[in-house]
C-alpha cells in the first residue's frame, strides 16, 4: 500500500464509521420514540390514533407532492409506527402524491406555479420551475439530469417511463427536487401521458410498502 492510497482509505473509513454510527443512532432513536409514544392502539386512544393517521396521511400527500420537501419521512414514520397494517395506505398515499405533483405540472401555467411556490417561500422549487419554464417542454425533464452520465440520459430518452419509475424511487433524489419535483417536471414536460405515467408510478413506488406488507415491519 502506498502512502497515497493509505491517505485515501482513512477518510473513507471515517466516513463509513460515521455513516454506520448515524444508522445505529437513527434506528435506536426510532425505537425510543416509538416506545415513548406508546403507540399501542387501545379503545381509549383509537379515535386519536385514527385522527393522527388521517392528518399524517393528508400532510404526507401534500408535502410529498412539493419539490424539495422531505415528505417521505412521514411515510417512513407511519410504517415504523404501525407496521404492515398501514402499508397499503402509505402506498396509496404515495401514488396519490406523485400523481398530484404530475397533475399540477400538467395543468398549472408555469408562471402561476412559480408565483405559488414563491408565496409559499419555497425558493428552490420556484427557481427550478422558473428555469424549466424558459425551456421547450420536451427539454424540461432533461434539465434535471444536466449532470447525469450520458448513459442515464440515453435511458431517459429511450425508456422515459422506466426512468421515471426509477427516478422517483431512488434514495437521494431530493437533490434534484425529490419525487414531487420530478413528477411536477414530468407534468410540465408534456411528454408523459397520464395512464402510462400512473402505471410507472404504481410500479415505481411499490417496493418498500410491498416488502413491509408481505414480510412485516
Amino acid at each position: 500500500m502506498t502512502p497515497k492510497s493509505g491517505a485515501k482509505i482513512v477518510p473513507l473509513a471515517v466516513k463509513f464509521l460515521a455513516l454506520l454510527t448515524f444508522i445505529l443512532l437513527a434506528t435506536w432513536g426510532a425505537h425510543f420514540i416509538r416506545d415513548a409514544l406508546n403507540l399501542e392502539i387501545m379503545p381509549r386512544n383509537e379515535q386519536g390514533v385514527h385522527s393522527a393517521v388521517m392528518l399524517g396521511t393528508a400532510a404526507y400527500v401534500v408535502l410529498l407532492a412539493l419539490p424539495f420537501v422531505p415528505g417521505a419521512e412521514i411515510g417512513i414514520a407511519l410504517l415504523t409506527s404501525f407496521g404492515a397494517s398501514i402499508a397499503p395506505l402509505v402506498y396509496a398515499a404515495t401514488v396519490t402524491a406523485m400523481m398530484l405533483a404530475y397533475v399540477i405540472g400538467l395543468v398549472l401555467p408555469t408562471t402561476a406555479l412559480v408565483k405559488l411556490l414563491t408565496i409559499l417561500r419555497m425558493r428552490r422549487a420556484a427557481d427550478l420551475i422558473a428555469r424549466a419554464a424558459a425551456l421547450p417542454p420536451d427539454q424540461r425533464i432533461g434539465m434535471l439530469l444536466e449532470e447525469a452520465p450520458p448513459n442515464i440520459m440515453s435511458l431517459v430518452l429511450r425508456r422515459r417511463y422506466v426512468a421515471l419509475a426509477i427516478a422517483v424511487n431512488v434514495p437521494g433524489n431530493a437533490i434534484i427536487g425529490g419525487g414531487g419535483g420530478i413528477m411536477m417536471m414530468a407534468g410540465l414536460s408534456g411528454i408523459f401521458a397520464p395512464v402510462p405515467t400512473l402505471i410507472a408510478i404504481l410500479i415505481g413506488v411499490s417496493p418498500v410498502p410491498l416488502v413491509i406488507f408481505f414480510f412485516g415491519a
Binding site: I41, R44, S85, V95
Partner: protein, 160 residues
C-alpha cells in the same frame, strides 16, 4: 379548461382507485365467534352485575369493568364509557353447572365491535373478548381476558 377537467378526473380516479385498493387488500380479523351450541336468548343472568378485572393480551394493560345484565340485554361499563355502546342482546346455554354466555356489542358512532364469550360457574364469571375496529384502511383488533364476581373488589370500589 378541457385539460383541467381531465386532470381533475385523473386525480379523482387515482384517489378513488387507491382508497378502493386499500379497502380491498386490508386484512380482516373476525370477531370472536359464537361456537355451535343450543343457545337461547339471555334471561338467566338478568339483574346481575359482575365486577371484572380484565387484561389486554397485546399490551398487558389491566382494566376494571362491570358487566350488567338486564331484561335480556348486556352492557359493559367500559364500552359504555369509551363509545356509548348501549345495551345489546345476549345469549346463554346451560352445560351442567356451567352457564355459557355470548354477546356482541357495537359502537353507534365508530366502527368498533366487541364480542364477549364467557362462562359463569358458582357465581364466578370468566370470559374472553375481542375489540375490533374496522377503519377503511385497516382492521385493528385487541384481545382481552378477564374474570370477576358479583362482589366488587377494593380496586373497583376505589375507582367508583
Amino acid at each position: 379548461m378541457k385539460a383541467v377537467l381531465k386532470a381533475v378526473a385523473l386525480l379523482i380516479a387515482v384517489i378513488a382507485t387507491g382508497a378502493a385498493t386499500v379497502a380491498l387488500v386490508k386484512e380482516d380479523m373476525p370477531d370472536l365467534a359464537m361456537p355451535d351450541a343450543p343457545w337461547v336468548s339471555g334471561s338467566v343472568l338478568d339483574g346481575s352485575v359482575f365486577y371484572t378485572t380484565d387484561q389486554v393480551i397485546e399490551s398487558g394493560d389491566v382494566i376494571l369493568d362491570e358487566f350488567h345484565f338486564k331484561d335480556g340485554a348486556f352492557q359493559s361499563a367500559m364500552c359504555q364509557i369509551y363509545c356509548d355502546f348501549g345495551w345489546s342482546d345476549y345469549k346463554t346455554w346451560q352445560d351442567g353447572e356451567t352457564l355459557h354466555f355470548y354477546a356482541v356489542t357495537r359502537c353507534p358512532d365508530a366502527p368498533h365491535t366487541v364480542a364477549f364469550l364467557g362462562t359463569v360457574v358458582d357465581g364466578k364469571l370468566s370470559f374472553a373478548g375481542t375489540w375490533t375496529t374496522r377503519r377503511w384502511y385497516w382492521t385493528h383488533q385487541i384481545n382481552v381476558i378477564g374474570e370477576g364476581t358479583t362482589t366488587p373488589t377494593a380496586a373497583h370500589l376505589a375507582e367508583s
